[in-house]
C-alpha cells in the first residue's frame, strides 16, 4: 500500500491491494476526507458507505475477488465538491450498463445483491462509470457537492 502526494495540494491518491481487508481503511479515509471538505457527519457517513460499495464492486466484480491487483483512489477537493475517483484495471462498467433496482420491487421479492449501486446513487450527487482512455483503466467517479 502506498500514499502518493501530488503537486496539486487539493488532491491526493491512495493505492491499495484489491483485498477486502482494506475496506475499513478506505471508508475511514473517505469519512475523514468528507469532514475535511466541509461536509457534516451524516453526509460524511454516506460518502464512506458509497466508497465502500464502489471499492467492493471493483474487488469482487471487476477483479473477480483476485487479491493481487491494485485499486487507486484519488481524492479531489474543489470549492464545489469532493470527488473520489476509483481507478482499476479490471472489468469495467459503463453508465449505460447500469440498471438500478427499484427498492419497492426489491422489498416484494427479497434477494441477495444489487443494492450497492443503489446506495451509491442515493448517497452521492453523481456517480459516473467511464474508461480512462490515456491509461486504459476503468474508473468510478463519486461526487458529493458541498452545500
Amino acid at each position: 500500500m502506498s500514499v502518493v502526494a501530488n503537486l496539486v495540494p487539493a488532491q491526493f491518491r491512495l493505492v491499495i491491494p484489491s483485498q477486502t481487508r482494506y475496506l475499513n481503511l478506505v471508508t475511514g479515509l473517505a469519512k475523514r476526507a468528507s469532514l475535511v471538505a466541509g461536509l457534516d457527519d451524516a453526509a460524511a457517513a454516506k460518502v464512506s458507505i458509497a466508497v465502500d460499495e464502489a471499492v467492493t464492486n471493483v474487488i469482487l466484480h471487476a477483479y473477480h475477488g483476485e487479491g493481487e491487483h491494485s485499486v487507486e483512489l484519488e481524492l479531489r477537493f474543489t470549492e464545489q465538491a469532493l470527488e473520489i475517483h476509483i481507478l482499476h484495471s479490471g472489468q469495467g462498467l459503463r453508465n449505460d450498463q447500469i440498471t438500478l433496482p427499484d427498492p419497492k420491487e426489491y422489498i416484494k421479492h427479497p434477494r441477495k445483491g444489487g443494492l450497492g449501486l443503489l446506495l451509491m446513487s442515493r448517497f452521492m450527487d453523481e456517480v459516473q462509470f467511464k474508461a480512462d482512455e490515456a491509461s486504459g483503466r476503468n474508473e468510478c467517479c463519486l461526487i458529493k457537492k458541498l452545500d
Partner: protein, 119 residues
C-alpha cells in the same frame, strides 16, 4: 481491534444478536454464519441489537435479506433495534424500514414480540 465481533444471547424465544464494529464485504461471512447458525438451531425470531454497529454495507443487508423469507416461513422474524443514525439511514434509504420492524431499544422490541408468542 477486529473489524467485527458478534455476541449472541437469548431472551426467551428470541435470539438477540449484537454485532459490534463494521459489517462489510470483508466481515459479512462472519455475520452470515452467526445468522445461519441461529436458524439452524431453530431460532427463527432474531433481534439485531445494533447499538455497537458502526456501519453496514449492502453485503450485510444482503445477508439479512437472504434469511428473511426462511424465518418468516417458520412464523419468526428479524427485528432491528438501537440503530445508530447512519445505520438507520442505510436501512431507510433502501426502504428496509418498511420490511423490518425497527425499535428504539431492545426492551421495546422484546415487548412487541412477547404478546405474539403468547397469542
Amino acid at each position: 481491534m477486529a473489524d467485527l465481533s458478534i455476541a449472541v444471547r437469548h431472551a426467551g424465544d428470541v435470539a438477540v444478536l449484537l454485532p459490534a464494529g463494521f459489517i462489510n464485504a470483508h466481515t459479512v461471512r462472519e455475520f452470515e454464519e452467526a445468522l445461519e447458525g441461529l436458524v439452524q438451531e431453530g431460532r427463527y425470531t432474531i433481534l439485531l441489537n445494533c447499538k455497537d454497529l458502526n456501519y453496514i454495507s449492502s453485503a450485510g443487508l444482503g445477508a439479512i435479506m437472504g434469511l428473511i423469507e426462511t424465518v418468516r416461513e417458520h412464523q419468526g422474524d428479524i427485528l432491528l433495534s438501537n440503530l445508530q443514525t447512519n445505520v438507520f439511514a442505510i436501512f431507510d434509504t433502501l426502504g428496509f424500514t418498511q420490511l423490518y420492524r425497527v425499535f428504539s431499544d431492545e426492551e421495546q422490541a422484546l415487548a412487541a414480540v412477547a404478546p405474539e408468542k403468547k397469542g
